[in-house]
């Protein structure tokens, strides 16, 4: 049996994992649309 501290840490870890699987997929889709759907613009550096 695991204690509540370990279970809490594990639950937080699982929540972060799930969040970071779901949200970046949507963000990557929007980046892809920005790059290919509306033409790419570049903001150059200083030098």
């Amino acid at each position: 049996m695991l204690d509540w501290i370990t279970l809490t840490i594990e639950a937080i870890g699982i929540a972060i994992l799930v969040l970071w699987i779901i949200v970046p997929i949507g963000e990557f889709k929007s980046i892809y649309r920005a790059l290919h759907g509306h033409g790419k613009t570049h903001k150059g550096g200083h030098s």
Partner: protein, 591 residues
């Protein structure tokens, strides 16, 4: 390790290599390679910053220190997390607004081109050595986890496994490959950690089992979160807080990811988010270290504790599970290596190659140079990793000391005087950087008895005997701090830079950098739709900033109170840290 485990690892490496190569088509210009076209969004950016930050070093070496010295080493991560939040809302949005790609580029804008080339070359070499260290730790740990013979042949095989894939896709895919693959690797790394924790905690009887065993075996000091004495006590936490500020505000591999943000506000959000999510994750490497100290105390080399624990506990649960865990460790390592390879290539191409050329190079030329520099950097890191094997890790300790000495003066001239004091000029910044580093090295030799007796005292004797005797007196006085030298030296080198830079600046001519200060002002930038003001314009933003800063103050008071063995040290430090996080979250969400 079984054939199933090996198959999983080889399959994982192949998938990583091919997926990284597939991203090549996103690279059209050098900015795509350097900063992913500045198109990155908060969660992607957070994942890539976190994956860059975490490597096998956390899982193996910090876990090993927890094994040897206790839970207080967790502050090495937590101070860095707080620094990420504070620099995320106070420093990085300003730098992102300047649209620079590196700190040396910032130094040219703020001071002079010469300082850019000097720091760019210094940082490039330093990162190559650091990459070699990462490879050394990873390959040594992989031998321990897999249980294969500790021969040079096996070491070279693991070096190849770690480096070939990462060099290929960082050289070809650049920052886009690093950002996208880091997001994937972050999840794989986390999956590995999620598998390990319940298994090892079950083996040791959970947190109550650890507490009971450590108390009954006379290791109760392992459970002190903010110790008043010892190598990982309050002085260690204070020194790491300073190093954390340095790391999160001027470290090329972290900043280059943040510079890939679409807007300054997104860079702030990503850094705050990364600091917060890494905080609970620190338990994933500290608790296994503590569990190993209960199950198998007595390893001479603490870096062997966690690999032993994994090899002993994981295979018994299911076939192939060790392979998945190893993939997690490899993912952590590859993401850190690729980010640094990308940073070195950027530093060399953007700060050294461009500065030395009289005519501006074409995009095609830049892409060729940046890819060639990635491969040269990869080769250099392999050579360093091979050398470290011959020194049995001695070079590793030397590098940590050197970076602790030289990075803090750079932080002072870049962030403190670079952003906060207009009168600072390039003469002051160069003197502060070089002399601050010199003072750090001098202090290191002065406090460490072996170095003092062998090198410093004979050298000073040649110059002046009264001076040598005076130094001997100081060496005797600071003798008790010898074990703390790595904590004392960054404080000295940053203190020296803090004093030297303004003195030299005031003694030399005033320099004007009006365009630099104008660019820092968000209101002047018409393209800035989602402006992020360091001093908030709304009441909610001001309250959030106040909570953050007061929280940091509470943390500092808590840590310093540990010097007097105060029982409130740990609660105050933790409450202060949580306040920093709470204030930081609100701050990035409101104007």
């Amino acid at each position: 390790m079984t054939i199933v485990d090996y198959s999983i690892v080889i399959g994982f490496l192949l998938v990583m290599a091919f997926a990284g190569l597939a991203i090549t088509r996103l690279i059209k210009t050098s900015d795509d390679f350097f900063v992913a076209g500045r198109e990155l969004t908060p969660f992607v950016l957070c994942a890539t910053i976190t994956a860059t930050n975490l490597s096998m070093y956390q899982f193996i070496s910090i876990g090993g220190i927890a094994y040897q010295s206790g839970i207080s080493v967790i502050w090495q991560n937590w101070t860095g997390d707080m620094a990420l939040v504070l620099c995320g809302i106070l420093v990085v949005p300003l730098m992102r607004r300047l649209q620079v790609r590196s700190i040396p580029e910032f130094l040219e804008l703020r001071y002079t081109k010469g300082l850019r080339t000097l720091v760019g070359a210094f940082w490039g070499i330093r990162l190559c050595i650091y990459l070699g260290i990462l490879l050394y730790i990873a390959s040594t740990a992989a031998i321990g986890v897999t249980g294969c013979a500790d021969t040079t042949q096996n070491y070279v095989r693991w070096l190849a496994a770690f480096s070939v894939v990462s060099i290929i896709y960082s050289a070809i895919g650049g920052a886009w490959a690093v950002a996208i693959m880091d997001s994937v690797q972050f999840c794989i790394m986390l999956l590995g950690a999620l598998i390990v924790l319940p298994i090892v905690m079950h083996a040791v009887g959970g947190v109550p089992g650890i507490v009971h065993t450590l108390n009954s075996t006379g290791q109760s000091s392992h459970l002190s979160i903010v110790p008043s004495t010892g190598e990982f006590g309050w002085l260690f936490i204070s020194a790491y807080m300073l190093l954390g500020f340095k790391w999160s505000s001027i470290d090329q591999s972290i900043l280059q990811r943040a510079f890939g943000a679409k807007t300054p506000r997104i860079s702030a959000k990503a850094m705050v988010l990364s600091g917060i999510i890494t905080t609970p994750l620190a338990f994933f490497w500290v608790l296994p270290g503590l569990a190993a100290s209960c199950l198998h105390p007595g390893f001479d080399n603490p870096d062997k504790a966690v690999p032993w624990l994994l090899a002993a506990e994981i295979p018994a649960v299911a076939k192939g599970l060790l392979g998945v865990v190893l993939c997690g460790l490899i993912a952590a390592q590859i993401s850190a290596i690729t980010a640094d390879v990308n940073s070195v290539a950027t530093l060399f191409t953007s700060d050294v190659y461009r500065s030395l050329r009289k005519r501006a190079p074409s995009q095609q030329q830049l892409l060729i140079v940046v890819r060639a520099s990635s491969i040269v950097c990869g080769t250099l890191m392999l050579l360093v990793a091979l050398y470290l094997r011959t020194t049995n890790g001695g070079g590793l300790r030397a590098n940590y000391t050197i970076t602790g000495i030289l990075d803090m003066p750079l932080f002072v001239v870049t962030v403190i005087y670079g952003l906060l004091w207009k009168r600072a000029n390039w003469q002051g910044a160069t003197a502060g950087f070089l002399l601050g580093g010199f003072c750090g090295i001098f202090t290191h030799f002065l406090i460490t008895n072996a170095y003092f007796d062998s090198y410093l005292f004979p050298l000073l004797s040649h110059i002046s005997m009264p001076l040598a005797n005076f130094a001997a007196h100081i060496n005797h006085y600071f003798g008790p701090y010898q074990k703390q030298v790595r904590n004392v030296v960054p404080i000295v080198s940053s203190g020296a830079a803090l004093i030297i830079t303004p003195i030299v600046s005031l003694l030399t001519s005033r320099s004007s950098h009006g365009h630099f200060w104008n660019a820092l002002n968000a209101e002047d930038n018409k393209e800035e739709k989602d402006a992020f003001h360091v001093i908030p314009r709304t009441l909610a933003g001001q309250i959030a900033l106040a909570v953050t800063l007061i929280g940091f103050g509470v943390f500092v008071v808590g840590i310093l109170s540990a010097h007097w063995a105060s029982g409130l040290a740990a609660p105050m430090a933790i409450i202060g840290m949580l306040s920093v996080f709470a204030g930081g979250v609100v701050r990035v969400c409101v104007k």
